[in-house]
Protein backbone atom coordinates (compact mmCIF):
# COMPACT_ATOMS: atom_id res chain seq x y z
CA UNK A 1 0.00 0.00 0.00
CA UNK A 2 2.80 2.39 0.94
CA UNK A 3 4.41 1.62 -2.35
CA UNK A 4 1.34 2.58 -4.34
CA UNK A 5 1.28 5.89 -2.55
CA UNK A 6 4.98 6.47 -3.25
CA UNK A 7 4.45 5.66 -6.92
CA UNK A 8 1.40 7.90 -7.17
CA UNK A 9 3.27 10.70 -5.47
CA UNK A 10 6.12 10.28 -7.94
CA UNK A 11 3.83 10.24 -10.98
CA UNK A 12 1.95 13.35 -9.93
CA UNK A 13 4.65 14.96 -7.84
CA UNK A 14 7.60 14.97 -10.19
CA UNK A 15 5.85 16.90 -12.99
CA UNK A 16 4.38 19.25 -10.37
CA UNK A 17 7.78 19.87 -8.82
CA UNK A 18 9.23 20.55 -12.27
CA UNK A 19 6.33 22.89 -13.00
CA UNK A 20 7.02 24.74 -9.76
CA UNK A 21 10.72 24.81 -10.58
CA UNK A 22 10.02 26.34 -13.97
CA UNK A 23 7.48 28.91 -12.83
CA UNK A 24 9.20 30.02 -9.63
CA UNK A 25 12.64 29.88 -11.21
CA UNK A 26 11.50 32.02 -14.12
CA UNK A 27 9.95 34.53 -11.69
CA UNK A 28 13.29 34.91 -9.97
CA UNK A 29 15.31 35.01 -13.21
CA UNK A 30 13.01 37.63 -14.80
CA UNK A 31 13.83 40.02 -11.98
CA UNK A 32 17.55 39.77 -12.62
CA UNK A 33 19.45 42.26 -14.78
CA UNK A 34 19.33 41.37 -18.50
CA UNK A 35 22.90 40.20 -18.99
CA UNK A 36 22.64 37.95 -15.95
CA UNK A 37 19.32 36.56 -17.23
CA UNK A 38 20.71 35.41 -20.57
CA UNK A 39 23.63 33.87 -18.75
CA UNK A 40 21.77 31.96 -16.05
CA UNK A 41 18.51 30.97 -17.75
CA UNK A 42 19.80 28.23 -20.11
CA UNK A 43 21.68 26.49 -17.32
CA UNK A 44 18.62 26.71 -15.11
CA UNK A 45 16.55 24.95 -17.79
CA UNK A 46 19.11 22.35 -18.74
CA UNK A 47 20.18 21.65 -15.15
CA UNK A 48 17.84 18.72 -14.33
CA UNK A 49 18.76 16.87 -17.53
CA UNK A 50 22.47 17.62 -17.30
CA UNK A 51 22.40 16.77 -13.59
CA UNK A 52 20.85 13.37 -14.21
CA UNK A 53 23.25 12.62 -17.06
CA UNK A 54 26.17 13.62 -14.85
CA UNK A 55 25.15 11.59 -11.81
CA UNK A 56 24.10 8.46 -13.66
CA UNK A 57 26.44 8.41 -16.65
CA UNK A 58 29.38 10.81 -16.65
CA UNK A 59 30.46 10.39 -13.05
CA UNK A 60 30.00 6.56 -13.03
CA UNK A 61 31.95 6.34 -16.28
CA UNK A 62 34.97 8.09 -14.79
CA UNK A 63 34.63 6.21 -11.53
CA UNK A 64 34.50 2.84 -13.33
CA UNK A 65 37.72 3.60 -15.17
CA UNK A 66 39.25 4.57 -11.82
CA UNK A 67 37.98 1.40 -10.10
CA UNK A 68 39.35 -0.81 -12.84
CA UNK A 69 42.89 0.15 -11.75
CA UNK A 70 42.21 -0.41 -8.04
CA UNK A 71 42.17 -3.54 -5.92
CA UNK A 72 38.84 -5.06 -4.99
CA UNK A 73 38.56 -3.28 -1.65
CA UNK A 74 39.38 0.02 -3.38
CA UNK A 75 42.33 0.63 -1.04
CA UNK A 76 45.30 0.47 -3.40
CA UNK A 77 46.36 0.78 -7.03
CA UNK A 78 46.98 -2.47 -8.87
CA UNK A 79 47.99 -1.17 -12.27
CA UNK A 80 46.70 -3.25 -15.13
CA UNK A 81 46.13 -6.39 -13.02
CA UNK A 82 42.39 -6.46 -13.59
CA UNK A 83 42.93 -6.14 -17.32
CA UNK A 84 45.65 -8.77 -17.32
CA UNK A 85 43.17 -11.04 -15.59
CA UNK A 86 40.56 -10.31 -18.23
CA UNK A 87 42.86 -10.98 -21.16
CA UNK A 88 44.49 -14.12 -19.78
CA UNK A 89 41.78 -16.02 -17.89
CA UNK A 90 40.23 -18.65 -20.23
CA UNK A 91 36.63 -17.93 -19.17
CA UNK A 92 36.84 -14.24 -19.89
CA UNK A 93 38.62 -14.93 -23.17
CA UNK A 94 35.70 -17.12 -24.17
CA UNK A 95 33.32 -14.27 -23.42
CA UNK A 96 35.44 -11.99 -25.58
CA UNK A 97 35.35 -14.48 -28.45
CA UNK A 98 31.58 -14.90 -28.12
CA UNK A 99 30.96 -11.17 -28.11
CA UNK A 100 32.96 -11.03 -31.33
CA UNK A 101 30.74 -13.78 -32.76
CA UNK A 102 27.68 -11.79 -31.74
CA UNK A 103 29.11 -8.64 -33.24
CA UNK A 104 29.71 -10.23 -36.64
CA UNK A 105 26.81 -12.63 -37.05
CA UNK A 106 24.06 -10.84 -35.15
CA UNK A 107 24.74 -7.64 -37.09
CA UNK A 108 25.12 -9.42 -40.44
CA UNK A 109 21.98 -11.51 -40.11
CA UNK A 110 19.76 -8.86 -38.50
CA UNK A 111 20.57 -6.27 -41.15
CA UNK A 112 20.80 -8.80 -43.99
CA UNK A 113 17.50 -10.50 -43.22
CA UNK A 114 15.87 -7.13 -42.55
CA UNK A 115 17.00 -5.97 -46.00
CA UNK A 116 16.01 -9.16 -47.80
CA UNK A 117 12.60 -9.35 -46.17
CA UNK A 118 11.92 -5.65 -46.82
CA UNK A 119 12.78 -6.10 -50.52
CA UNK A 120 10.74 -9.29 -50.87
CA UNK A 121 7.69 -7.87 -49.10
CA UNK A 122 7.83 -4.78 -51.30
CA UNK A 123 6.77 -7.05 -54.16
CA UNK A 124 3.61 -8.60 -52.73
CA UNK A 125 0.12 -7.32 -51.95
CA UNK A 126 -0.07 -8.67 -48.41
CA UNK A 127 2.97 -6.61 -47.41
CA UNK A 128 1.48 -4.86 -44.37
CA UNK A 129 0.14 -8.09 -42.90
CA UNK A 130 3.44 -9.90 -43.43
CA UNK A 131 5.30 -7.00 -41.84
CA UNK A 132 3.22 -7.34 -38.68
CA UNK A 133 4.23 -10.99 -38.46
CA UNK A 134 7.95 -10.26 -38.82
CA UNK A 135 7.72 -7.30 -36.44
CA UNK A 136 5.81 -9.20 -33.75
CA UNK A 137 8.90 -10.25 -31.72
CA UNK A 138 10.22 -6.67 -31.48
CA UNK A 139 7.96 -5.49 -28.63
CA UNK A 140 8.41 -8.81 -26.81
CA UNK A 141 10.99 -8.63 -24.00
CA UNK A 142 14.21 -10.57 -24.33
CA UNK A 143 13.13 -12.50 -21.23
CA UNK A 144 9.87 -13.67 -22.83
CA UNK A 145 11.63 -14.30 -26.16
CA UNK A 146 14.11 -16.50 -24.32
CA UNK A 147 11.29 -18.57 -22.80
CA UNK A 148 9.70 -18.85 -26.25
CA UNK A 149 12.95 -20.23 -27.64
CA UNK A 150 13.64 -22.44 -24.66
CA UNK A 151 10.68 -24.44 -25.94
CA UNK A 152 11.89 -24.35 -29.53
CA UNK A 153 15.31 -25.66 -28.44
CA UNK A 154 14.02 -28.14 -25.86
CA UNK A 155 15.94 -31.39 -25.90
CA UNK A 156 15.06 -34.86 -24.65
CA UNK A 157 17.44 -37.83 -24.88
CA UNK A 158 17.12 -39.85 -28.11
CA UNK A 159 14.25 -42.35 -27.86
CA UNK A 160 11.97 -40.20 -25.71
CA UNK A 161 9.27 -37.91 -27.10
CA UNK A 162 10.72 -34.67 -28.43
CA UNK A 163 8.50 -31.82 -27.27
CA UNK A 164 10.84 -29.10 -28.55
CA UNK A 165 9.71 -27.86 -31.94
CA UNK A 166 13.12 -28.02 -33.61
CA UNK A 167 14.01 -31.49 -32.39
CA UNK A 168 10.55 -32.80 -33.25
CA UNK A 169 10.98 -31.42 -36.77
CA UNK A 170 14.43 -33.01 -36.99
CA UNK A 171 12.96 -36.31 -35.82
CA UNK A 172 10.21 -36.12 -38.45
CA UNK A 173 12.97 -36.11 -41.08
CA UNK A 174 14.72 -39.00 -39.36
CA UNK A 175 17.44 -36.94 -37.69
CA UNK A 176 18.86 -37.34 -34.20
CA UNK A 177 17.85 -34.76 -31.58
CA UNK A 178 20.38 -32.00 -30.92
CA UNK A 179 21.00 -30.44 -27.49
CA UNK A 180 20.99 -26.98 -29.06
CA UNK A 181 21.89 -24.98 -25.97
CA UNK A 182 24.43 -27.40 -24.53
CA UNK A 183 26.33 -28.54 -27.60
CA UNK A 184 29.21 -26.12 -28.00
CA UNK A 185 28.94 -25.96 -31.80
CA UNK A 186 25.24 -25.08 -31.80
CA UNK A 187 24.69 -23.07 -28.63
CA UNK A 188 26.25 -19.78 -29.67
CA UNK A 189 24.60 -19.78 -33.11
CA UNK A 190 21.30 -20.69 -31.39
CA UNK A 191 21.56 -17.76 -28.95
CA UNK A 192 22.59 -15.37 -31.69
CA UNK A 193 19.63 -16.53 -33.74
CA UNK A 194 17.24 -15.70 -30.89
CA UNK A 195 18.73 -12.20 -30.90
CA UNK A 196 18.36 -11.94 -34.67
CA UNK A 197 14.78 -13.19 -34.49
CA UNK A 198 13.93 -10.50 -31.95
CA UNK A 199 15.38 -7.60 -33.91
CA UNK A 200 14.94 -8.38 -37.63
CA UNK A 201 11.51 -6.72 -37.66
CA UNK A 202 13.09 -3.52 -36.37
CA UNK A 203 15.70 -3.49 -39.16
CA UNK A 204 13.06 -4.40 -41.74
CA UNK A 205 10.75 -1.52 -40.78
CA UNK A 206 13.50 1.08 -41.05
CA UNK A 207 14.95 -0.29 -44.29
CA UNK A 208 11.48 -0.66 -45.76
CA UNK A 209 10.65 2.99 -45.02
CA UNK A 210 13.76 4.05 -46.86
CA UNK A 211 12.97 1.62 -49.68
CA UNK A 212 9.59 3.28 -50.19
CA UNK A 213 11.30 6.61 -50.67
CA UNK A 214 13.15 5.40 -53.77
CA UNK A 215 11.28 6.89 -56.69
CA UNK A 216 9.28 4.34 -58.65
CA UNK A 217 10.22 6.13 -61.88
CA UNK A 218 13.85 5.18 -61.50
CA UNK A 219 12.89 1.54 -60.97
CA UNK A 220 10.40 1.60 -63.84
CA UNK A 221 13.00 3.08 -66.15
CA UNK A 222 15.44 0.34 -65.22
CA UNK A 223 12.80 -2.32 -65.87
CA UNK A 224 11.97 -0.74 -69.23
CA UNK A 225 15.62 -0.97 -70.12
CA UNK A 226 15.35 -4.69 -69.47
CA UNK A 227 17.21 -4.91 -66.17
CA UNK A 228 16.10 -7.96 -64.19
CA UNK A 229 15.01 -7.70 -60.57
CA UNK A 230 18.30 -8.99 -59.19
CA UNK A 231 20.31 -6.38 -61.10
CA UNK A 232 17.91 -3.67 -59.95
CA UNK A 233 18.38 -4.65 -56.32
CA UNK A 234 22.14 -4.85 -56.78
CA UNK A 235 22.72 -1.67 -58.79
CA UNK A 236 19.95 0.69 -57.74
CA UNK A 237 18.23 -0.33 -54.52
CA UNK A 238 21.22 -1.34 -52.39
CA UNK A 239 23.35 1.76 -53.14
CA UNK A 240 20.40 4.05 -52.45
CA UNK A 241 19.70 2.22 -49.20
CA UNK A 242 23.33 2.24 -48.12
CA UNK A 243 23.10 5.24 -45.73
CA UNK A 244 20.15 3.61 -43.96
CA UNK A 245 21.94 0.27 -43.84
CA UNK A 246 24.98 1.80 -42.16
CA UNK A 247 22.83 3.55 -39.55
CA UNK A 248 20.91 0.36 -38.77
CA UNK A 249 24.20 -1.57 -38.83
CA UNK A 250 25.84 0.64 -36.20
CA UNK A 251 22.79 0.32 -33.98
CA UNK A 252 22.98 -3.46 -34.34
CA UNK A 253 26.71 -3.55 -33.53
CA UNK A 254 26.04 -1.60 -30.33
CA UNK A 255 23.16 -3.98 -29.53
CA UNK A 256 25.39 -6.98 -30.16
CA UNK A 257 28.07 -5.72 -27.79
CA UNK A 258 25.51 -4.94 -25.08
CA UNK A 259 23.76 -8.33 -25.39
CA UNK A 260 22.89 -9.58 -21.95
CA UNK A 261 19.29 -10.75 -21.41
CA UNK A 262 19.10 -13.61 -23.92
CA UNK A 263 22.33 -15.24 -22.80
CA UNK A 264 21.56 -14.68 -19.14
CA UNK A 265 18.10 -16.28 -19.33
CA UNK A 266 18.80 -19.13 -21.75
CA UNK A 267 22.16 -20.44 -20.56
CA UNK A 268 23.44 -18.02 -17.86
CA UNK A 269 26.68 -18.16 -19.81
CA UNK A 270 27.18 -21.89 -19.20
CA UNK A 271 28.67 -24.22 -21.84
CA UNK A 272 30.97 -21.49 -23.17
CA UNK A 273 28.21 -19.07 -24.13
CA UNK A 274 29.29 -16.17 -21.93
CA UNK A 275 29.48 -12.73 -23.51
CA UNK A 276 31.21 -9.63 -22.12
CA UNK A 277 28.03 -8.26 -20.53
CA UNK A 278 27.13 -11.50 -18.72
CA UNK A 279 30.75 -11.93 -17.66
CA UNK A 280 30.69 -8.45 -16.19
CA UNK A 281 27.46 -9.13 -14.34
CA UNK A 282 28.86 -12.34 -12.86
CA UNK A 283 31.97 -10.52 -11.59
CA UNK A 284 29.66 -7.90 -10.09
CA UNK A 285 27.33 -10.48 -8.50
CA UNK A 286 30.32 -12.28 -6.95
CA UNK A 287 31.62 -8.96 -5.59
CA UNK A 288 34.69 -8.77 -7.80
CA UNK A 289 34.00 -5.09 -8.30
CA UNK A 290 37.31 -3.98 -9.75
CA UNK A 291 37.39 -6.88 -12.19
CA UNK A 292 33.81 -6.09 -13.19
CA UNK A 293 34.90 -2.49 -13.72
CA UNK A 294 37.72 -3.63 -16.01
CA UNK A 295 35.26 -5.73 -18.04
CA UNK A 296 32.99 -2.69 -18.27
CA UNK A 297 35.86 -0.57 -19.55
CA UNK A 298 36.72 -3.19 -22.20
CA UNK A 299 33.08 -3.13 -23.34
CA UNK A 300 33.17 0.65 -23.43
CA UNK A 301 36.41 0.73 -25.44
CA UNK A 302 34.84 -1.59 -27.98
CA UNK A 303 32.01 0.90 -28.40
CA UNK A 304 34.17 4.05 -28.59
CA UNK A 305 34.68 3.84 -32.38
CA UNK A 306 30.91 3.74 -32.84
CA UNK A 307 30.54 6.63 -30.44
CA UNK A 308 32.89 8.65 -32.65
CA UNK A 309 30.95 7.62 -35.77
CA UNK A 310 27.69 8.70 -34.13
CA UNK A 311 29.08 12.08 -33.12
CA UNK A 312 30.49 12.65 -36.62
CA UNK A 313 27.15 11.82 -38.17
CA UNK A 314 25.43 14.15 -35.73
CA UNK A 315 27.79 16.99 -36.62
CA UNK A 316 27.16 16.45 -40.34
CA UNK A 317 23.42 16.53 -39.73
CA UNK A 318 23.81 19.75 -37.77
CA UNK A 319 25.63 21.40 -40.66
CA UNK A 320 22.81 20.62 -43.03
CA UNK A 321 20.07 21.73 -40.64
Amino acid sequence: MDQIITAAVAVVGVPLVLLGYIILGERVIERLPDHLQTWIRPYFWALPAIGFATIFMVYPLIRTVFLSFRNNADTDWVGFNNYVYFFTFPDTLTSLRNSLLWLVFYTLFAVGLGLIIAILLDRVRYESLAKIAIFLPVPISAVAASIIWKFMFDYQPPGSVQTGTLNAALGAFGGQPVAWLVNSTTNNPALIFVGVWSITGFCMVIISASLKSISTEVLEAARMDGANELRIVQLIVTPLLWPTITVVGTTMIINALKTFDIVFVLTSGAYDTDVIATQMFRQLATHHLSRAAAVGVVLFLAIVPLLVVNIRRFQQQEETR
Partner: protein
Protein backbone atom coordinates in the same frame (compact mmCIF):
# COMPACT_ATOMS: atom_id res chain seq x y z
CA UNK B 1 3.48 -3.07 -55.90
CA UNK B 2 5.97 -3.64 -58.64
CA UNK B 3 4.22 -6.82 -59.66
CA UNK B 4 1.00 -4.96 -60.28
CA UNK B 5 2.76 -2.42 -62.39
CA UNK B 6 4.47 -5.02 -64.52
CA UNK B 7 1.14 -6.72 -65.09
CA UNK B 8 -0.66 -3.60 -66.23
CA UNK B 9 2.07 -2.80 -68.66
CA UNK B 10 1.85 -6.21 -70.22
CA UNK B 11 -1.88 -5.98 -70.46
CA UNK B 12 -1.75 -2.77 -72.38
CA UNK B 13 0.88 -4.19 -74.65
CA UNK B 14 -1.22 -7.22 -75.62
CA UNK B 15 -4.88 -6.70 -76.21
CA UNK B 16 -6.05 -10.31 -76.59
CA UNK B 17 -7.86 -11.19 -73.35
CA UNK B 18 -7.22 -14.93 -73.58
CA UNK B 19 -3.51 -14.37 -73.98
CA UNK B 20 -3.54 -11.88 -71.16
CA UNK B 21 -5.25 -14.30 -68.75
CA UNK B 22 -2.81 -17.04 -69.61
CA UNK B 23 0.02 -14.57 -69.27
CA UNK B 24 -1.16 -13.49 -65.84
CA UNK B 25 -1.36 -17.10 -64.71
CA UNK B 26 2.13 -17.73 -65.96
CA UNK B 27 3.29 -14.59 -64.27
CA UNK B 28 1.74 -15.63 -60.96
CA UNK B 29 3.33 -19.06 -61.29
CA UNK B 30 6.69 -17.39 -61.82
CA UNK B 31 6.17 -15.56 -58.58
CA UNK B 32 5.42 -18.73 -56.65
CA UNK B 33 8.97 -19.04 -55.22
CA UNK B 34 8.72 -15.45 -53.96
CA UNK B 35 5.52 -16.23 -52.05
CA UNK B 36 7.00 -19.46 -50.77
CA UNK B 37 10.09 -17.74 -49.36
CA UNK B 38 7.95 -15.08 -47.72
CA UNK B 39 5.68 -17.69 -46.15
CA UNK B 40 8.70 -19.53 -44.74
CA UNK B 41 9.98 -16.27 -43.20
CA UNK B 42 6.58 -15.50 -41.72
CA UNK B 43 6.37 -19.01 -40.26
CA UNK B 44 9.79 -18.73 -38.60
CA UNK B 45 8.80 -15.39 -37.10
CA UNK B 46 5.38 -16.30 -35.71
CA UNK B 47 5.35 -20.04 -35.04
CA UNK B 48 7.60 -19.88 -31.92
CA UNK B 49 5.32 -17.31 -30.28
CA UNK B 50 2.20 -19.27 -31.19
CA UNK B 51 3.82 -22.40 -29.78
CA UNK B 52 4.44 -20.68 -26.46
CA UNK B 53 0.91 -19.29 -26.26
CA UNK B 54 -0.63 -22.70 -27.06
CA UNK B 55 1.61 -24.37 -24.50
CA UNK B 56 0.65 -21.89 -21.81
CA UNK B 57 -2.92 -23.22 -22.01
CA UNK B 58 -1.91 -26.85 -21.45
CA UNK B 59 -1.06 -28.52 -18.19
CA UNK B 60 2.52 -29.40 -17.35
CA UNK B 61 1.87 -33.13 -17.76
CA UNK B 62 0.63 -32.69 -21.35
CA UNK B 63 3.55 -30.41 -22.09
CA UNK B 64 6.09 -33.06 -21.29
CA UNK B 65 4.15 -35.82 -23.07
CA UNK B 66 3.75 -34.15 -26.45
CA UNK B 67 4.70 -30.97 -28.27
CA UNK B 68 2.42 -27.92 -28.43
CA UNK B 69 1.23 -28.82 -31.95
CA UNK B 70 -0.62 -31.88 -30.66
CA UNK B 71 -2.99 -29.55 -28.80
CA UNK B 72 -4.12 -28.15 -32.15
CA UNK B 73 -6.04 -31.39 -32.74
CA UNK B 74 -8.73 -32.85 -30.47
CA UNK B 75 -8.58 -33.67 -27.66
CA UNK B 76 -7.06 -30.24 -27.10
CA UNK B 77 -6.86 -30.60 -23.34
CA UNK B 78 -6.68 -26.85 -22.82
CA UNK B 79 -6.50 -25.72 -19.21
CA UNK B 80 -5.59 -22.71 -17.12
CA UNK B 81 -3.41 -24.79 -14.78
CA UNK B 82 -0.19 -23.02 -15.69
CA UNK B 83 -1.73 -19.62 -15.06
CA UNK B 84 -3.09 -20.71 -11.70
CA UNK B 85 0.20 -22.28 -10.75
CA UNK B 86 2.37 -19.38 -11.80
CA UNK B 87 0.18 -16.76 -10.12
CA UNK B 88 0.31 -18.76 -6.90
CA UNK B 89 4.08 -19.07 -7.08
CA UNK B 90 5.80 -16.92 -4.52
CA UNK B 91 6.54 -13.36 -5.64
CA UNK B 92 4.95 -13.64 -9.08
CA UNK B 93 1.73 -11.71 -8.46
CA UNK B 94 3.59 -9.06 -6.44
CA UNK B 95 6.26 -8.76 -9.10
CA UNK B 96 3.69 -7.99 -11.82
CA UNK B 97 2.43 -5.24 -9.58
CA UNK B 98 5.99 -4.07 -8.95
CA UNK B 99 6.58 -3.86 -12.70
CA UNK B 100 3.71 -1.39 -12.96
CA UNK B 101 4.97 0.59 -9.97
CA UNK B 102 8.43 0.78 -11.52
CA UNK B 103 7.42 1.50 -15.09
CA UNK B 104 4.87 4.29 -14.74
CA UNK B 105 6.86 6.68 -12.50
CA UNK B 106 10.14 5.96 -14.32
CA UNK B 107 8.49 6.91 -17.63
CA UNK B 108 6.89 10.08 -16.29
CA UNK B 109 10.02 11.29 -14.52
CA UNK B 110 12.39 10.92 -17.43
CA UNK B 111 10.07 12.39 -20.04
CA UNK B 112 9.28 15.42 -17.88
CA UNK B 113 12.95 16.17 -17.31
CA UNK B 114 13.93 15.40 -20.91
CA UNK B 115 11.31 17.75 -22.39
CA UNK B 116 12.53 20.60 -20.22
CA UNK B 117 16.18 19.99 -21.04
CA UNK B 118 15.42 19.60 -24.74
CA UNK B 119 13.71 23.00 -24.73
CA UNK B 120 16.87 24.64 -23.41
CA UNK B 121 18.99 22.95 -26.06
CA UNK B 122 16.56 23.82 -28.84
CA UNK B 123 15.68 27.45 -28.07
CA UNK B 124 18.39 28.97 -25.90
CA UNK B 125 21.95 30.05 -26.57
CA UNK B 126 24.59 29.46 -23.95
CA UNK B 127 28.32 28.92 -23.82
CA UNK B 128 29.28 25.25 -23.95
CA UNK B 129 25.92 24.25 -25.42
CA UNK B 130 27.45 22.41 -28.38
CA UNK B 131 29.88 20.53 -26.18
CA UNK B 132 27.16 19.56 -23.72
CA UNK B 133 25.05 18.30 -26.58
CA UNK B 134 27.87 16.32 -28.15
CA UNK B 135 28.43 14.67 -24.77
CA UNK B 136 24.73 13.77 -24.74
CA UNK B 137 24.97 12.27 -28.23
CA UNK B 138 27.98 10.27 -27.05
CA UNK B 139 26.22 9.08 -23.89
CA UNK B 140 23.44 7.59 -26.02
CA UNK B 141 25.68 4.65 -26.91
CA UNK B 142 27.57 4.22 -23.64
CA UNK B 143 26.76 0.73 -22.33
CA UNK B 144 25.02 0.96 -18.98
CA UNK B 145 27.30 -1.81 -17.73
CA UNK B 146 29.93 0.91 -17.54
CA UNK B 147 27.88 2.73 -14.90
CA UNK B 148 26.43 -0.04 -12.74
CA UNK B 149 29.06 -0.29 -10.01
CA UNK B 150 29.38 3.41 -9.08
CA UNK B 151 25.61 3.90 -9.25
CA UNK B 152 25.11 0.87 -7.03
CA UNK B 153 27.59 2.34 -4.56
CA UNK B 154 25.80 5.69 -4.70
CA UNK B 155 22.49 4.03 -3.87
CA UNK B 156 24.08 2.25 -0.93
CA UNK B 157 25.55 5.53 0.35
CA UNK B 158 22.17 7.28 0.18
CA UNK B 159 20.23 4.31 1.56
CA UNK B 160 18.29 3.87 -1.66
CA UNK B 161 19.52 0.36 -2.47
CA UNK B 162 16.63 -1.97 -3.26
CA UNK B 163 14.00 0.78 -3.41
CA UNK B 164 11.70 1.82 -6.24
CA UNK B 165 13.20 5.29 -6.12
CA UNK B 166 16.59 3.83 -7.04
CA UNK B 167 15.30 2.18 -10.24
CA UNK B 168 13.15 5.18 -11.18
CA UNK B 169 16.21 7.39 -10.95
CA UNK B 170 18.51 4.92 -12.68
CA UNK B 171 16.11 4.34 -15.58
CA UNK B 172 15.63 8.08 -15.91
CA UNK B 173 19.35 8.72 -15.98
CA UNK B 174 19.96 6.04 -18.61
CA UNK B 175 17.04 7.08 -20.79
CA UNK B 176 17.61 10.84 -20.72
CA UNK B 177 20.41 11.32 -23.27
CA UNK B 178 18.40 9.72 -26.04
CA UNK B 179 15.17 11.48 -25.12
CA UNK B 180 16.82 14.89 -24.86
CA UNK B 181 18.44 14.28 -28.24
CA UNK B 182 15.20 13.29 -29.93
CA UNK B 183 12.97 15.95 -28.35
CA UNK B 184 15.53 18.68 -29.00
CA UNK B 185 15.50 17.78 -32.71
CA UNK B 186 11.71 17.85 -32.71
CA UNK B 187 11.43 21.08 -30.72
CA UNK B 188 14.12 22.68 -32.85
CA UNK B 189 12.03 21.91 -35.92
CA UNK B 190 9.06 23.96 -34.70
CA UNK B 191 8.58 27.27 -36.54
CA UNK B 192 10.69 30.05 -35.05
CA UNK B 193 8.02 32.70 -35.79
CA UNK B 194 5.62 31.27 -33.21
CA UNK B 195 8.16 31.64 -30.43
CA UNK B 196 9.24 35.08 -31.62
CA UNK B 197 5.72 36.44 -31.77
CA UNK B 198 4.98 35.03 -28.32
CA UNK B 199 8.09 36.78 -27.04
CA UNK B 200 6.92 40.06 -28.61
CA UNK B 201 3.61 39.65 -26.80
CA UNK B 202 5.58 39.52 -23.59
CA UNK B 203 5.38 35.79 -22.91
CA UNK B 204 8.28 34.58 -20.81
CA UNK B 205 10.09 31.29 -21.30
CA UNK B 206 7.81 29.51 -18.81
CA UNK B 207 4.73 30.46 -20.84
CA UNK B 208 6.41 29.73 -24.18
CA UNK B 209 7.46 26.31 -22.92
CA UNK B 210 4.20 25.30 -21.26
CA UNK B 211 1.73 26.88 -23.69
CA UNK B 212 3.54 26.50 -27.02
CA UNK B 213 6.45 24.06 -26.94
CA UNK B 214 4.88 21.25 -24.89
CA UNK B 215 1.50 21.14 -26.68
CA UNK B 216 3.22 21.18 -30.08
CA UNK B 217 5.57 18.40 -29.05
CA UNK B 218 2.79 16.07 -27.89
CA UNK B 219 3.05 13.79 -30.96
CA UNK B 220 6.76 13.19 -30.32
CA UNK B 221 6.27 12.82 -26.57
CA UNK B 222 3.43 10.36 -27.15
CA UNK B 223 5.39 8.00 -29.35
CA UNK B 224 8.41 8.33 -27.09
CA UNK B 225 6.22 7.45 -24.10
CA UNK B 226 5.26 4.15 -25.74
CA UNK B 227 8.88 3.17 -26.24
CA UNK B 228 10.16 4.35 -22.88
CA UNK B 229 7.30 2.56 -21.15
CA UNK B 230 7.97 -0.70 -22.98
CA UNK B 231 11.71 -0.33 -22.53
CA UNK B 232 11.34 -0.11 -18.77
CA UNK B 233 8.65 -2.82 -18.65
CA UNK B 234 10.92 -5.19 -20.61
CA UNK B 235 14.15 -4.26 -18.82
CA UNK B 236 16.12 -6.94 -17.06
CA UNK B 237 19.64 -5.67 -16.42
CA UNK B 238 18.86 -2.47 -14.50
CA UNK B 239 16.34 -4.15 -12.20
CA UNK B 240 18.48 -7.23 -11.75
CA UNK B 241 21.40 -5.06 -10.64
CA UNK B 242 19.56 -2.64 -8.38
CA UNK B 243 16.66 -4.81 -7.16
CA UNK B 244 18.04 -8.32 -7.72
CA UNK B 245 17.12 -9.68 -4.30
CA UNK B 246 14.75 -6.98 -3.11
CA UNK B 247 11.04 -7.75 -2.58
CA UNK B 248 10.47 -4.87 -4.99
CA UNK B 249 11.88 -6.71 -7.98
CA UNK B 250 9.82 -6.67 -11.16
CA UNK B 251 8.27 -9.46 -13.23
CA UNK B 252 11.20 -9.91 -15.66
CA UNK B 253 13.62 -10.49 -12.80
CA UNK B 254 11.34 -13.00 -11.07
CA UNK B 255 10.79 -14.94 -14.32
CA UNK B 256 14.53 -15.08 -14.92
CA UNK B 257 15.22 -16.27 -11.39
CA UNK B 258 12.50 -18.93 -11.71
CA UNK B 259 14.00 -20.26 -14.95
CA UNK B 260 17.24 -21.06 -13.17
CA UNK B 261 15.81 -22.13 -9.82
CA UNK B 262 13.13 -24.43 -11.24
CA UNK B 263 15.51 -26.45 -13.38
CA UNK B 264 13.39 -29.15 -15.00
CA UNK B 265 10.01 -27.93 -13.79
CA UNK B 266 10.02 -24.63 -15.59
CA UNK B 267 7.27 -25.53 -18.06
CA UNK B 268 4.58 -23.54 -16.30
CA UNK B 269 6.67 -20.41 -16.91
CA UNK B 270 5.01 -20.37 -20.34
CA UNK B 271 2.08 -18.68 -18.60
CA UNK B 272 4.42 -16.16 -16.96
CA UNK B 273 6.05 -15.33 -20.30
CA UNK B 274 2.64 -14.88 -21.95
CA UNK B 275 1.55 -12.57 -19.14
CA UNK B 276 4.78 -10.61 -19.37
CA UNK B 277 4.54 -10.10 -23.13
CA UNK B 278 0.79 -9.49 -23.29
CA UNK B 279 1.17 -5.83 -22.39
CA UNK B 280 3.81 -5.03 -25.06
CA UNK B 281 1.88 -7.02 -27.65
CA UNK B 282 -1.37 -5.23 -26.80
CA UNK B 283 0.40 -1.89 -27.05
CA UNK B 284 1.87 -2.89 -30.40
CA UNK B 285 -1.42 -4.13 -31.81
CA UNK B 286 -3.54 -1.19 -30.67
CA UNK B 287 -0.98 1.55 -31.24
CA UNK B 288 0.65 0.05 -34.32
CA UNK B 289 0.69 3.30 -36.26
CA UNK B 290 2.57 5.21 -33.55
CA UNK B 291 4.84 2.28 -33.08
CA UNK B 292 6.06 2.04 -36.65
CA UNK B 293 6.14 5.82 -37.08
CA UNK B 294 8.18 6.09 -33.91
CA UNK B 295 10.74 3.64 -35.18
CA UNK B 296 11.08 5.09 -38.65
CA UNK B 297 11.40 8.62 -37.34
CA UNK B 298 14.26 7.48 -35.15
CA UNK B 299 12.60 7.55 -31.76
CA UNK B 300 13.95 4.17 -30.76
CA UNK B 301 17.42 2.92 -30.27
CA UNK B 302 16.61 -0.75 -30.74
Amino acid sequence: MSGVQVETRRETARTGTAVSVLDRWGHQLQRLPLHLVIIIFIAIWIVPTIGLIVNSFRNVQDMSNAGWWSALFPPHGFSLDSYNQVLQTENVATSIFNSVLITVPATVIQLAIATMGAYAFAWMKFPGKDIFFIVIVGLMVVPIQMTLIPVLQLFHTFGLAGTFIAVWLAHSGYGLPFEVFLLRNYLGGLPREIFESAEMDGAGHAVRFLRIAVPMTIPAIASLTIFVFLGVWNDLLVSLTFLGSSPNRPFTVVITQLVTSLGGGWQFLTAAAVLQMSLPLAVFIFLQRYFVRGITSGSVKG
